[in-house]
């Protein structure tokens, strides 16, 4: 086995690596600094996909090599084909560690890859370190975010997916570059038993992806009705934030499920999370408690959201939020 760390990198439609993949690459750099290893970014792509932009950026974020698994059948994600392509490559090259961002894609196919290469997989990690014996010690949330587990796996490769925003993105090194190695996986169309028939773009109004946003502003039942959500959107816009929602308002049909934060919605870990008129039920906390800084505005001083808030205002969202939005806009102007 070579002492290699692989990072499975996902690309956006424009061909650039997703932020979450660059975060995973940055985490790999930290590991390699503690225990020298080659870092390979693995990209699965169609035969004719142009990877020059991805190769550049992946190099700047620490990959010494980009391994491109290219095939006509990999143009679009498909669970069985992606599983086979990656599992075969792992089998052939035997990296010690395989990291990836925790996304709906990697959560879909990495468990299958792990079974195929007979390795242990720890999903949705929030911290990584080498233990005394050189094995990865992986911290991940459990029990509805109330507990943390430290886990390890004795099998190789050690496979880990990393929660979005839990790992800082390193500064890119514009002088660094990665070599490109292309391989053609052995695939055929009859291996696939699922077929994409339609794709519908998410309905988040701001167009910002919740999981990738540095700031999230969420609204709850305290907003009283869908007609008042422009208050939430206005603050979000001033902060450059994505809009989130509690389940109560999603179930009431005020906001799309794509915006729901919590146990049965999305998990976010932004730099700043602002909860407006949200009580902070444990199921909501599951989705946001690992945010770096939490601000809560709620008129009930006993609301559980204040237990986890760094800064709380006991007050009326209809009075506080307009004043806050104005103050932020003024601060933005002053900074220009």
């Amino acid at each position: 086995m070579t002492n290699a760390i692989w990072v499975v990198a996902e690309l956006s439609e424009s061909g650039a690596p997703l932020d979450i993949s660059l975060e995973a690459l940055s985490a790999a750099q930290k590991l390699a600094a503690a225990n020298p290893a080659d870092i390979t970014a693995v990209v699965l792509a169609g035969s004719n996909t142009d990877l020059s932009q991805a190769q550049n950026l992946l190099g700047q974020y620490g990959a010494t090599k980009v391994l491109a698994l290219k095939h006509d059948l990999l143009e679009q994600y498909q669970v069985e084909l992606y599983t086979k392509a990656l599992a075969d490559a792992i089998g052939a090259q035997q990296p010690q560690i395989v990291l990836a961002g925790s996304t709906s894609t990697t959560r879909d196919f990495l468990p299958r890859v792990a079974v195929r290469v007979q390795a242990g997989l720890a999903p949705d990690a929030i911290d990584l370190a080498f233990g005394a014996n050189g094995q990865l010690e992986i911290t991940r949330p459990t029990y509805g975010e109330n507990m943390r587990a430290v886990v390890h796996t004795a099998t190789r490769p050690q496979m880990v997916s990393l929660r979005a925003k839990a790992f800082a993105k390193a500064k890119p090194d514009s002088g660094a570059s990665a070599a490109l190695e292309t391989a053609t996986p052995d695939l055929s169309a009859d291996m696939a038993h699922t077929k994409l028939t339609q794709r519908v773009k998410g309905e988040t109004k701001t167009g910002k992806k919740l999981e990738e946003a540095e700031i999230v502003v969420s609204g709850g039942r305290g907003l009283k009705g869908p007609e008042n959500f422009p208050l939430v959107e206005g603050l979000a816009e001033a902060l450059g934030a994505a809009v989130g929602a509690s389940r109560a308002v999603v179930d009431a049909g005020w906001r799309p499920h794509a915006e729901q934060v919590g146990q049965t919605g999305k998990t976010v870990s932004p730099q700043l999370y602002v909860a407006l008129g949200i009580s902070g039920a444990i199921q909501h906390q599951v989705g946001m408690s690992s945010s770096k800084t939490i601000i809560a505005i709620n008129k009930d001083g006993d609301a559980p959201i204040f237990d986890i808030a760094d800064f709380g205002i006991v007050g009326d969202v209809f009075e506080i939020v307009p004043a806050l939005t104005k103050a932020i806009k003024e601060a933005n102007m002053a900074a220009c």
Binding site: R112, E145, A149, V151, R199, T264, V314, I328
Partner: protein, 263 residues
């Protein structure tokens, strides 16, 4: 048409109890059907109702108390249930769990068409069991499903939710779907269902009946080992101010945001 749903018995994470050292008070936990499994059961029942002659079986690997949730599944509308129970299953990770469930399915419902699971168990928060089980059984899988309906006897139409929106798939059966929150809520068992559940015998299969060796199951079969489990650290030094004077409160908040370099 054989539909199977795998359900997990989990501590209610909204009401966890801790001992003086902040460890989980294992003997004091309240146990429930994993919330995502409730959605899986509901989706499975809707599928069964829409396909005449279909049968629906619930499977759980767990301790003797886990029979409670299998009874609940029957009360909701499953036809029968089986409990995979053996002390040797204790300490399983999702991989060892998938091995055990695969053996249970091969033994009890070898000709399954659709296999449903919850997307995550709220205790492990892993989401690994479903796709791992599909891989072991050699069938396709789709995660993050919010809707799954039979198109015909060999095709399942599935809607899954991603970061970018939703995707619609056709899956050739047999196959596995892992169910998220749906647009509909799990039904509450009616009295008639509860009575039926009380009459239904739930068979138990142990490791010998499943032909499993110790290396495949429980703590020994696990690939991911937990070395430490501790309570989430509490937030230190949170501040809470009175907001009856909105302007004053906002200017305090703005100084906080500046201190934290967030504006």
């Amino acid at each position: 048409m054989n539909i199977v749903v795998c359900i997990k018995h989990v501590p209610d994470t909204a009401h966890l109890k801790y001992d003086a050292q902040d460890n989980l008070a294992q003997d004091n936990l309240e146990w429930v059907m994993n919330p995502f499994c409730e959605y899986a059961v509901e989706t499975a029942i809707r599928m069964k109702e829409a396909h005449e002659g279909a049968t629906l079986t619930a499977i759980c690997m767990g301790g003797p108390q886990a029979k409670d949730i299998l009874k609940r599944a029957i009360a909701m509308g499953c036809d029968d249930a089986v409990l995979l129970q053996d002390d040797a299953f204790n300490g399983a990770d999702p991989w060892a769990t998938a091995q055990t469930l695969a053996a249970g399915i091969r033994k009890h419902v070898p000709n399954f068409n659709v296999l449903l699971l919850g997307q995550f168990a709220t205790d492990s928060m892993s989401g690994v069991t479903g796709p791992a089980l599909a891989e072991l059984l050699g069938v396709p899988s789709i995660t993050f499903c919010k809707k799954a309906e039979l198109k015909d006897a060999t095709t399942l139409s599935v809607e899954r939710e991603t970061e970018r929106g939703s995707e619609h798939y056709d899956m050739t059966l047999p196959g596995v779907v892992c169910v998220m929150k749906c647009d509909y809520e799990p039904r509450i068992p009616a009295i008639k269902g509860v009575m039926k559940a009380n009459r239904t015998e739930i068979p138990t299969l142990d490791k010998a009946a499943l032909g499993l060796s110790d290396e495949q199951i429980g703590a020994k079969g696990a690939r991911v080992e937990v070395t430490k489990l501790y309570r989430r650290p509490k937030k230190e030094g949170g501040r809470k101010i009175d907001g009856s004077d909105a302007q004053a409160a906002v200017s305090q908040l703005m100084s906080f945001l500046r201190e934290q370099k967030l504006v």
